[in-house]
């Protein structure tokens, strides 16, 4: 037993010594994941952000010079998401479209001449039709609707397009409603006066004329009804609501990605031993097979723990200095470490197996790199699983990175606890156990 522990310790120390002197491996394990977390978090941080800097460049070409343009500009400029530039006669419609298509602007809006005047006329006509008994006036309009055209830079992604489209539709609908209200406000007193005259005689109409029936609908500065975002966390949860941000999504995701890159140095270490005279010598030492697997495992678990601390530190201390939100642990830091350890075991187990069964270092590196990227893609590291096609969503359940990411999201975004992520943890441990069993059986046969 003592010999086993000594061998275990020998492998543990030796692996850390080898890693310390392998600059390439250190770069892959520590620098690459940090760079990924920082860059991806910063890149995704401004998409439809409610607060913060204005980054979507929007060109408004106003050939109308009317109410609609004023309303649109007012609403867009008070929003924090846009950097609005309004041009009138200096840019024509085809030129504006061209400039947007080449990426000078992300969005372009064109207000054709007379659209505000036509809006007002049609709103008046619509309201007037409500005050008449003429059936033909109430018939559905035959004229096509007025258009305010907007167009996107082809490189703007679907999510951003959908958000901006929804907002513009809402702005146009609001302007239309205000015009209808104004029309109603103008016509209603006269209509009432006519009705009173017709029904009761001119004497009462004279009374009305002396005390004017004024209707002033106030400007809609505050909505009567609004949609409000609330937390979906269960009421019984003790955790505070955590706003999902790019940091909250990306730090755990790319931390897991970095942890799984441990497969490369683990498999490479074993293959180097196999290509030299080291492996045969190790195998003839009594009891060394078990120590060879477990001593290495502990060394790389330690490395993954350091990786995780580094990534969480970046999310908590460094990213806020660059303008993003701070990473919030939601009181689940301990559970997060458990997830990382489970992921590290899964990755290390696979790395050990790969090192034992692969025929060359090049083969192992290729398999490791491709499998990590595929597992990351399937697991939702790059694109959320719910946005994938149905078939890919089903396939994503085999991704160890997906299990880990799912567990992190439960802890950090869904106010979950360790108990809630037991299925994911058990799956990862099962994968680890399978890899270790296969590795052990292979070593015994060697």
């Amino acid at each position: 037993m003592l010999l086993l522990w000594q061998q275990f310790f020998a492998f543990f120390v030796k692996e850390l010594q080898l890693l310390r002197r392998d600059r390439g491996a250190l770069l892959i394990l520590f620098l690459m994941p940090v760079a990924l977390v920082v860059i991806v978090s910063l890149v995704q941080d401004n998409i439809l952000k409610v607060t913060g800097s204005r980054t979507v460049k929007l060109l408004v070409v106003d050939h109308d010079h009317g109410y609609l343009g004023q309303q649109l500009l007012h609403q867009l400029e008070t929003s924090d998401s846009f950097q609005v530039t309004c041009v009138a006669e200096t840019v024509n419609y085809p030129d504006a479209k061209f400039e947007v298509s080449t990426g000078q602007w992300q969005v372009g809006i064109y207000l054709p001449p007379g659209v505000s005047q036509q809006l007002e006329q049609r709103a008046m006509a619509m309201v007037r039709a409500g005050f008449t008994d003429d059936v033909s006036a109430k018939a559905p309009p035959t004229k096509p609707p007025l258009t305010v055209e907007y167009f996107f830079d082809p490189a703007v992604q679907g999510g951003l397009q959908a958000g901006i489209s929804g907002m513009l539709q809402q702005l146009v609908a609001r302007a239309t409603l205000m015009k209808q209200l104004n029309a109603l406000q103008k016509m209603l007193p006269a209509y009432i006066e006519r009705q009173v005259t017709a029904q009761l005689g001119p004497m009462y109409a004279q009374v009305l004329a002396n005390s004017e029936l004024g209707i002033n609908v106030p400007e809609l500065t505050q909505p009567i009804v609004q949609a409000v975002q609330i937390s979906a966390a269960p009421a019984a949860s003790n955790a505070d609501f955590v706003q999902p941000t790019s940091v909250q999504h990306n730090v755990p995701a790319w931390s897991l990605f970095g942890i799984f890159f441990i497969i490369l140095p683990v498999s490479a270490a074993i293959l180097q031993e196999r290509s030299l005279g080291v492996f045969p010598r190790i195998l003839i030492i009594p009891g060394s097979g078990f120590a060879m697997l477990c001593g290495r495992l502990l060394a790389y678990l330690l490395v993954c723990l350091v990786q995780l601390c580094l990534m969480l530190g970046v999310g908590y201390f460094v990213l806020p200095l660059l303008g993003t939100d701070v990473l919030q642990f939601n009181g689940q830091l301990g559970a997060l470490i458990v997830v990382a350890l489970a992921a590290a075991l899964t990755a290390s187990g696979f790395g050990l197996l790969l090192g034992i069964v692969a025929r060359s270092e090049q083969q192992a590196i290729m398999i490791a790199a491709v499998s990590i990227v595929i597992a990351a893609a399937l697991g939702g590291i790059m694109v959320p699983v719910y946005m994938m096609p149905a078939g890919m969503q089903q396939l994503s359940i085999i991704s160890p990175l997906g299990w880990g990411l799912d567990a992190c999201q439960v802890l950090l975004l869904r106010s979950g606890t360790l108990r809630d992520i037991l299925p994911q943890l058990l799956t990862m441990m099962g994968c680890f156990a399978g890899c270790m069993l296969l590795s052990w059986r292979k070593i015994i046969k060697l």
């Binding site: 061998q7 005279g277 045969p280 030492i285």
Partner: protein
């Protein structure tokens, strides 16, 4: 097996998949304690396969092996602490220092603390690398690497050492140094099986010689007796006489 008999192998056979002829075909071998056997043969003769089986790294398809009276095939875990191996491919971690390599291999055999430190000093003094203990292996010359390889192979003081071409690719001075080290080791009572292409080394060092070809034993016995019986002036002449001058690719 007598009490002075350390190694006895009988009828060893090993076939590799896809090969028509066995790599080792009924080889017998006996070694007394303190013997130094030179294992000679052309390329592909079966030397490395024989050594691998004797060192319990490879399981024979037929035959028996006893080491220090223990059945090595049934109880490899019992005989392995008594065995040391100095393989042809260097069993060293090139980015670690000599001290770190020796410490690792020493710990693997259960050495620790002062015993390990003392043994490391003995080994590096033995192979003449006292000045290089804290240098990385990848800074060593070829000769130094071979000596370091020898040091790691004997760190645990084995009774029986298998050396597979331990002087290949190094300068004459380093070869001489290693030969002297091995001679001294043998004087201390370590039994050795020494495989090499260098006939002069074998002639200098080995008390017994076994020439193998095509997996079979061609001749074995004391070197001096073999030369006397064959009328050859040296082992190289005897070797070529027995195995032919045709190239073995």
């Amino acid at each position: 097996m007598t009490s002075t008999m350390l190694l006895q192998a009988t009828g060893l056979v090993k076939r590799y998949p896809g090969k028509a002829q066995p790599a080792v075909d009924h080889i017998d071998l006996q070694l007394q304690r303190g013997d130094l056997l030179g294992l000679l043969g052309p390329n592909g003769a079966g030397k490395t396969t024989t050594i691998s089986m004797l060192a319990t790294m490879l399981r024979p398809d037929a035959g028996s092996i006893e080491i220090a009276g223990i059945d090595a095939l049934s109880n490899p875990q019992l005989v392995r602490p008594k065995i040391g191996i100095v393989p042809q491919d260097l069993a060293l971690y090139h980015t670690l220092t000599l001290r770190e390599n020796l410490t690792f291999w020493g710990r693997m055999y259960g050495l620790h603390g002062n015993a390990l430190a003392q043994r490391i000093q003995e080994c590096i003094h033995f192979v003449g690398l006292s000045d290089c203990l804290d240098s990385c292996i990848n800074t060593f010359s070829g000769g130094m690497k071979r000596r370091a390889n020898l040091a790691t192979g004997i760190i645990h003081q084995p009774e029986l050492v298998f050396l597979d071409e331990p002087t290949v690719g190094i300068d004459p001075q380093s070869r001489y140094s290693i030969i002297e080290n091995l001679r001294e080791l043998n004087r201390q009572g370590v039994t050795m099986v020494y495989s090499s292409h260098y006939m002069d080394e074998v002639e200098q060092l080995c008390s017994q010689v076994m020439i193998v070809d095509n997996g079979k034993t061609v001749v074995s016995g004391k070197a001096s007796q073999l030369l006397l019986n064959s009328g050859c002036s040296g082992l190289e002449q005897l070797f070529l006489q027995l195995t032919g001058k045709k190239l073995r690719d």
